[in-house]
């Protein structure tokens, strides 16, 4: 049973990583769909909490899969999820990088690159939407989200300050 769970964890994360153009942020809805809706490894609140923790800690955003892996299968689960999410795409990146310079000016390469830009934007936009759905339980949560959008859009303040402020607002119990 346990081995089965780890295998499922590996298969799902390895597969989804290969379609995650736009990085970990583009994969959030798919991770949510699998971990919450399909496999019931987490509930909505745990998923939202883990996203917050992964944003709060330093390093690449992809470590949210490490948290989910730990929740599902302890330290082994954390390792399996991380390797599955990063391994296959690392190998792909290694080999593509080798031939990249040779096709630098090829028309198909330019078409692939510019064709993938709007796809990844749509996927990351979907991540914002799905996350807001998981995070905003009432009108106050939604206000925090909306205010953050406005501030980030119009200033260059570090997101850490916004997280600190939002955490304090949450602590007061308004949310």
């Amino acid at each position: 049973m346990k081995d089965n769970t780890l295998l499922t964890l590996f298969t799902y994360f390895a597969l989804l990583s290969l379609f995650a153009v736009g990085g970990a942020n583009a994969a959030i809805p798919e991770i949510h769909r699998i971990a919450v809706d399909a496999m019931h490894w987490l509930n909505d609140k745990q998923f939202a909490d883990m996203f917050a923790i992964s944003q709060l800690s330093p390093g690449p955003n992809v470590i949210i899969v490490t948290l989910i892996g730990y929740h599902v299968g302890g330290f082994l689960g954390a390792a399996v999820a991380t390797v599955a999410m990063c391994g296959p795409t690392c190998v792909l990146a290694y080999f593509v990088a080798k031939v990249w310079d040779r096709f630098k000016d090829a028309r198909w390469r330019i078409a692939v690159q510019s064709g993938l830009v709007p796809v990844s934007l749509g996927l990351i936009g979907a991540s914002g939407f799905v996350l807001a759905g998981a995070a905003d339980h009432n009108v106050y949560d939604a206000i925090v989200t909306a205010v953050t959008v406005l501030i980030v859009f119009s200033t260059r303040i570090s997101p850490l300050w916004l997280f600190l402020a939002a955490g304090l607002v949450g602590l007061t119990g308004w949310l």
Partner: protein, 190 residues
């Protein structure tokens, strides 16, 4: 192999050793809250002189359009350029090592204290802000799409968005349906 291909392509003078690669990306990982891009650029271009600004942009563009975690892709491409597979492994280990240690501590803490109401309230505030951050960043990234007259691009982005966010279809399905169309549009519109 990597030597012969890297040398002519790297007018930037300095070349990192394996341990320098590891340490540089470990430092970047610890400094990078909310995206490693500005920190990587500062380390590689401004402080170490391992790449020119132009080379950095090209390598970054490549790691963005490849699937998977962008910063990790960047480490692979960057490390491999200087020291092949060993370089890629050193850079990725540097970038992932310290954050993984920290996140494991947080994972254990969450498993013990995740049900505390106080923690839950703090995290729910932060998640609401984090969702806002993501939406704003997409907005900023998408802005040029609507000024540049790429008529097909906004449609592609909206279809990908709707397929994943509204319809909740699996990502591979949406990707395989939308990406080829988008690439074909890019090919013919040039």
């Amino acid at each position: 192999m990597s030597d012969s291909t890297a040398s002519p392509a790297t007018p930037a003078a300095a070349r990192p050793t394996l341990s320098e690669l590891f340490l540089a990306f470990a430092a970047v990982s610890l400094a990078s809250f909310g995206g490693a891009l500005p920190w990587s650029r500062r380390m590689i271009v401004e402080r170490k002189g391992w790449m020119t600004a132009q080379e950095f942009n090209e390598t970054f563009a490549l790691s963005q359009f490849l699937p998977g975690p962008n910063t990790i892709n960047f480490c692979v491409v960057f490390g491999a350029r200087f020291a092949g597979i060993a370089g890629a492994v050193a850079a990725v280990a540097g970038l992932l090592g310290p954050p993984l240690l920290i996140i494991m501590i947080l994972a254990v803490a969450y498993a013990h204290y995740g049900d505390l109401p106080t923690l839950g309230r703090i995290l729910s505030g932060i998640t609401a802000a984090a969702a806002g951050l993501l939406i704003a960043v997409v907005g900023k990234m998408a802005a040029p799409m609507f000024t540049k007259r790429w008529d097909w691009a906004p449609i592609v982005a909206l279809v990908a968005f709707a397929g994943v966010a509204i319809m909740r279809w699996p990502l591979p399905l949406v990707f395989l349906a939308v990406a080829p169309v988008s690439i074909a549009c890019a090919w013919f519109k040039r």
